[in-house]
């Protein structure tokens, strides 16, 4: 009986190993649909370098999150377009389950042992991954930082919003929200995102400075950190509307803040606490939730920064160098403003904004 149990366990182990090792193969052979994303876990074991006419890119976001799903969608779209042009591209998607430096470092180690042509990474902490990225570069792997640039970066290029653009996006939010109120004076509340997120600080800094310098009639009555958490943003906004029922503007300094604030605002309107159309709310990134909030009238502006194009241009810029010899250059992803007036046409407009800002430098 004992032998049978041991034999069964051995067979299960073999099946499990076969199951695990079949994944890298899938990563190396993109599906017919062009959606070539696959896990890098275990892929390092095969460590097969691609042939000259086949490019492999490993993309490592900060974590599994709706925002990075759009990055992945953009990368998949780039693969699809490149395949239609006859290029063979493998994209390996390797996302940490949480925004944890250690987990991201492990993903990076696995990616390096896969020996891809390019590694695209949204770094959580630049200092932690810098030595490993330099080692990858010494081994001939090109590094593209996407989404988040970092001090002292040695990456071969950066695809994302520049620090100046991030700051300016806060200014853009101030301009559109003040314009939407139609007033010259009023009260402003700020939901400033995560206190330790550099981009959130820049967004909020740009907004705050713009309000104080250009719109002296508007007073910032409170600033609260929502930690990029909808539940927290809702609770804070409920308290803000209790304390400042005459507030005119609520600035959402991340992708969750405005959505949470919009839910609180809707409840306050339903109970008669505030008037409909009294409060103008903004948030970041045109993803599904903010779009639904905009359509429901809970928020009035989205400061869009497209994660989709981060993924798209990371893969595209790598492919242009790999297949066509166009030297790798950074791609500055611009910010756009979405309101109900331009929602229907925005996607097409945004692509043109990207092209106009020089994102597709290989077509010049």
């Amino acid at each position: 009986m004992k032998k049978i149990v041991i034999l069964t366990l051995c067979l299960l182990l073999v099946f499990a190993m076969v199951g695990c090792t079949s994944q890298p193969q899938a990563a190396e052979e993109p599906s017919a649909t062009g959606s070539a994303s696959a896990s890098a876990e275990g892929a390092s074991e095969s460590a097969a370098a691609p042939a000259g006419d086949e490019m492999t890119v490993v993309l490592i976001p900060k974590l599994v999150h709706e925002f990075y799903n759009y990055v992945q969608e953009g990368a998949d779209q780039a693969v699809k377009e490149l395949e239609e042009q006859g290029y063979k591209v493998n994209v390996v998607w390797s996302a940490p389950t949480a925004a944890d430096v250690t987990e991201q470092t492990q993903k990076l180690e696995s990616a390096i042992s896969l020996n891809p042509d390019y590694i695209g990474i949204a770094v959580i902490n630049g200092e932690s991954v810098k030595p490993m990225l330099e080692s990858a570069q010494q081994n001939g792997i090109k590094v593209i930082a996407f989404d988040t640039d970092y001090e002292g970066s040695t990456a071969d290029s950066f695809v994302g919003a520049s620090l100046d653009a991030q700051y300016h996006s806060g200014e853009q939010a101030a301009d559109i929200l003040v314009k939407q109120t139609g007033k010259t004076e009023g009260k402003v509340a700020m939901l400033t995102g995560s206190p330790d997120a550099e981009n959130h600080k820049l967004f909020s800094g740009g907004f705050r400075d713009r309000i104080q310098s250009e719109y002296p009639g508007f007073e910032i009555v409170t600033e609260q950190a929502d930690n990029d958490d909808k539940e927290k943003a809702t609770q804070l906004t409920e308290a803000i509307l209790a304390q400042y029922p005459d507030v005119d503007i609520i600035f959402g300094g991340d992708g969750s803040a405005g959505v949470g604030a919009g839910i609180a605002l809707q409840a306050a309107i339903d109970t008669g606490r505030v008037e409909k159309d009294q409060v103008k709310i903004s948030t970041y990134c045109l993803t599904a939730d903010p779009q639904a909030s905009l359509e429901a009238g809970q928020i009035s502006a989205i400061i869009d920064y497209s994660p989709y194009y981060e993924g798209y241009y990371t893969v595209m810029s790598a492919a242009q160098e790999f297949f066509n010899g166009v030297e790798l250059q950074g791609v500055d992803i611009p910010f756009g403003i979405v309101t109900m007036e331009n929602l229907a046409t925005y996607s097409d407009e945004y692509r043109q904004i990207c092209i106009d800002s020089g994102a597709e430098y290989w077509n010049k």
Partner: protein, 327 residues
């Protein structure tokens, strides 16, 4: 037997005094806030405070029962998240009847809780490890199911569970109070409730007097899982959607609310009314940060301070109790 009676009576008095102390503290704090800002004491603000405490408060009730039996449930956040996600799937993708969906998703939470209890009692594993592992698995499943996306599109009357008002009182608060009433009755007036205190106080002695310790523990984890999933469903109703990040902060909040309310982390002592008052105090503190326009950077200090205060009060209470019992 006499010692047990004295001990129970002492614990009860201790709980009542803790609750009264907390209520006095809340009253004083509210008076200060009323003088500090005229917008504190109005129906809208009181309404949002009691509504906000209700969601994590329901999960904290389950945590209270678990703490009473000297356990801990670190999986309440992920169970709540899974409850909300499954509910959103049932309501949107499957188009299920809302009542059926609520029952089914609460049952899933009960199942997760029962699994915790089963692993703890059958394999003699520490609750901390088991519920931590189950929590990780739970959040893992959330990511597998949602891929990080929100599941939107819940509609209909069922949304009242998270957004509704009955007169001036939010429906979530009414549900919370009803849950407190039911559990308070069970703990005080049923053999099951009394057995939980006996298990938490001294599980070996409880076993000797015929209490089915393992079965009761499994039941308590089942209740905790069910309440967490139900709270997750309520949050899904509040946001019209299943959110993959809901509940991440609930473990700490639920333990803090229970301990502030007089529940001992050593087991054998605690009340659900105390947890309600503890949750109210926590929400009041959170509200006061905006009301008093305290710098956002101080919030973590304040929250951590309250946790530390709660643990210190618990330690002092336990020391005092032990001293009294040894006399």
């Amino acid at each position: 037997m006499e010692t047990k009676k004295i001990r129970n009576k002492f614990s009860m008095n201790q709980n009542v005094s803790t609750i009264l102390f907390l209520m006095l503290f809340i009253l004083l704090f509210s008076v200060i806030l009323t003088f500090a800002t005229p917008n504190f004491l109005n129906s809208y603000n009181i309404g949002i405070i009691i509504k906000q405490m209700s969601f994590f408060g329901i999960a904290a009730l389950g945590q209270t029962l678990v703490l009473i039996i000297a356990g801990i449930d670190l999986s309440i956040g992920s169970t709540a998240c899974l409850g909300g996600i499954f509910f959103a799937l049932c309501m949107t993708t499957l188009g299920m009847n809302p009542v059926l969906a609520v029952i089914l998703c609460t049952a899933i939470g009960c199942g997760i809780g029962y699994l915790n209890g089963l692993l703890i009692t059958k394999l003699r594993l520490h609750p901390f490890i088991v519920t931590l592992a189950v929590s990780n698995i739970g959040y893992g499943f959330v990511l597998v199911i949602t891929e990080g996306y929100t599941i939107s599109g819940i509609t209909g009357d069922v949304l009242a569970m998270g957004q509704g008002m009955l007169g001036a009182i939010p429906v979530p608060t009414l549900i919370f109070i009803a849950a407190v009433a039911v559990l308070a009755y069970i703990l005080k007036f049923t053999p099951f409730g009394r057995e939980l205190f006996a298990i938490g106080g001294n599980h070996a002695a409880a076993r000797l007097v015929g209490v089915k310790v393992e079965a009761r523990k499994r039941n308590v984890y089942l209740i905790s899982g069910g309440l967490s999933a139900f709270a997750g469903i309520m949050v899904a109703c509040r946001y019209n959607s299943g959110q993959p990040t809901i509940g991440e902060t609930w473990v700490m909040s639920s333990i803090t609310a229970a301990v502030i309310g007089g529940t001992s982390m050593d087991g054998g002592v605690g009340t659900v009314v105390g947890t309600l008052v503890g949750a109210l105090l926590m929400q009041l503190l959170s509200n006061s940060i905006v009301m008093l326009n305290v710098s956002q950077y101080w919030e973590a200090v304040m929250t951590g301070g309250v946790v530390l205060l709660a643990v210190a009060i618990d330690a002092l209470r336990t020391m005092h109790r032990n001293k009294q019992l040894s006399k």
